[in-house]
């Protein structure tokens, strides 16, 4: 194809139209075209659409949409107390989940980064919930955390403790969804930490050990600072993950009790697909978009610094 084309343009004594650069451009765009097309249709288009939807009063059931400007945002930010309640829940969820997850992941990684008999078994166990479906995990925990007759409370009763009705009391429910989510996802951060730990040259510890440093001192003064970049990435990724949580909440509490576990992702679903308030739900989606974009940019810039 190339030779015949260049031959023809050569005959016309002009620079060939299909230069190497042009051919690269055509091939490049051809290769990315399926991805690009799908991206435009199912991501960028919808992303633009939520900005338009958000400026309309549009109840899906009643049909007609009317332009209302920024009313939906005013509604969310100023008038509807639910919104701040939901944002507070999302913040509590993130602030509870992220430190617990990262600390536990680090502890497990330190314990499991060096070979010993049984290390693979432990790693396998701590990672197993990661590959389990969120719905399955939530079903089992909802069962175990039932107020009356749930295995957890039955076992607590054996040692004389009357357990609360975990998922029916707002504060306990929030604690329960956080802890069960941490157990489900901590394995992922654990393996990221293990990879980072194994990349640290052993000589550092050995040299410090020879100088008489204790294991805790080695960890605090050498390992922990070296893990800094990994920790930053893990914290941001886990925070983003905490904003995405939907199926876990849907199955365990349905956002209840008394909206005690109603987080942003669930609130968008509820407003859009249960109450059919498309305009308001789209305004919420934009707020989520802004939050996640900021976190993603932080994450990408951390990576850049890391690579350099």
């Amino acid at each position: 194809m190339t030779s015949s084309l260049s031959h023809r343009s050569g005959a016309q004594a002009r620079a060939p139209w299909l230069t190497l650069q042009r051919r690269d451009a055509i091939e490049g765009w051809l290769f990315v075209s399926p991805t690009l097309l799908g991206f435009l249709i199912f991501f960028l288009g919808p992303l633009i659409a939520i900005f338009i939807y958000a400026m309309s009063d549009w109840n899906f059931l009643s049909g007609e949409a009317t332009f209302v400007g920024l009313t939906n945002f005013e509604d969310a930010l100023l008038e509807n107390p639910d919104f701040w309640h939901v944002l507070r829940n999302s913040a509590v969820f993130a602030l509870g989940l992220v430190p617990l997850n990262v600390a536990l992941a680090l502890f497990l990684a330190v314990a499991l980064s060096r070979p010993f008999r049984g290390v693979i078994i432990f790693r396998t166990i701590f990672f197993a919930p990661v590959i389990t479906s969120a719905i399955a995990w939530a079903i089992v925990w909802k069962f175990m955390l039932q107020g009356e007759g749930g295995p957890i409370n039955q076992m607590l009763a054996l040692i004389g403790i009357t357990g609360p009705n975990w998922l029916r009391e707002p504060n306990w429910a929030m604690a329960a969804v956080i802890v069960t989510r941490v157990i489900k996802m901590v394995g992922l951060n654990m393996i990221l930490y293990i990879a980072a730990l194994q990349a640290i040259p052993r000589d550092y510890d050995e040299a410090a050990g020879l100088e008489g440093a204790s294991r805790w001192q080695i960890f605090r003064l050498i390992t922990w600072p070296l893990l800094g970049p990994t920790t930053l990435v893990i914290v941001v990724l886990t925070t983003i993950g905490s904003f995405k949580v939907f199926d876990h909440i849907y199955q365990m509490t349905g956002g209840g009790p008394e909206n005690g576990t109603l987080v942003l992702a669930f609130y968008i679903y509820q407003q859009g697909f249960q109450f059919f308030d498309i305009g308001y739900a789209s305004a919420l989606a934009i707020i989520m978009f802004v939050i996640v974009t900021i976190l993603t940019l932080i994450q990408v810039s951390l990576r850049r610094k890391d690579d350099a």
Partner: protein
């Protein structure tokens, strides 16, 4: 015992204690799946007094569970194959071909990288409805392939292609192989590890997908497994625990078995996508 071995014992005990909430749910899931409703709420015992195998039969009569199982399998298969194809094409171009707009395209794709499906699900619902594809499996295939998951796969493939030596591809070019030929015959066979990672993560993501089935599907025989699992309720909407847990067992245990066999490969795939994605 020496101090070092006491130390080791303390760590092992701590790990064993920590492992309880990771293992216990699986054990209890299987155990309750074999119990009758009355026994489930009796005194706590891990081994059922009466093994009620009927639960595992009723799972299939309560709703078309075999059909739902098949749906999940074939959808995850289709999503995985499409994602592998499309992401390796785009990833290859972004790694190896210099073309105008590549930088801008990467920047655009990054916005989708971490975005939760909830952000775009409302317009996507209207789009799918307009296309007449509500209550079909199409949205469960199209949205993941072209959404955040597809972008993660693209970046993963790009990163891997960048790490490959160029010489082989350049030699093939000299021999007159087309760009498509180089991609298919040289680059793809060399990127087995990355393709395996993408395949594993994509398959699991699709297998566990919940929001899209919840929003788009209404006929029982079109449900996928997570949606089917959340649907084992009585007429008051209360869970039929023994059936629900039996069904959950049937969906979780095969995945766990595959995980035990291919443990290293699966864990590495997640590490790769976590670091690179």
């Amino acid at each position: 015992m020496t101090r070092a071995s006491w130390n080791r014992l303390a760590w092992t005990l701590a790990l064993l204690l920590l492992a309880v909430p990771f293992v216990f749910p699986f054990l209890w899931m299987v155990s309750a799946g074999f119990k009758s409703v009355t026994e489930i709420f009796g005194a706590p015992n891990l081994i059922p007094r009466v093994w009620r195998y009927e639960n595992f039969v009723e799972v299939f009569t309560y709703q078309p569970f075999a059909r739902q199982y098949f749906n999940s399998l074939y959808i995850a298969g289709v999503v995985t194959i499409l994602t592998l194809l499309i992401s390796s094409l785009a990833g290859y171009a972004l790694a190896r071909i210099r073309f105008v707009g590549a930088g801008l395209l990467m920047l655009l794709l990054v916005t989708a990288l971490m975005m939760p499906d909830e952000v775009t699900i409302i317009p996507n619902f209207f789009l799918i409805r307009w296309l007449g594809l509500v209550d079909t499996h199409w949205p469960l295939i199209l949205l993941p392939v072209f959404g955040a998951q597809g972008v993660v796969a693209t970046f993963l493939m790009r990163q891997y292609f960048l790490s490959l030596p160029k010489e082989l591809e350049e030699a093939a070019k000299m021999d007159g192989l087309s760009r498509f030929g180089i991609w298919w015959k040289i680059a793809i066979p060399m990127s087995r590890p990355a393709l395996a990672a993408v395949a594993i993560i994509t398959f699991l993501n699709s297998w566990n997908l919940f929001l899209e089935p919840l929003i788009f599907l209404s006929s029982l025989e079109k449900f996928t497994l997570p949606l089917a699992l959340s649907n084992f309720n009585d007429s008051y909407g209360l869970p039929l625990w023994n059936l629900q847990l039996a069904a959950t067992t049937l969906t979780v245990i095969p995945v766990l078995i595959i995980y035990l066999i291919a443990q290293r490969q699966i864990v590495e795939s997640f590490a790769l996508s976590g670091v690179k994605g």
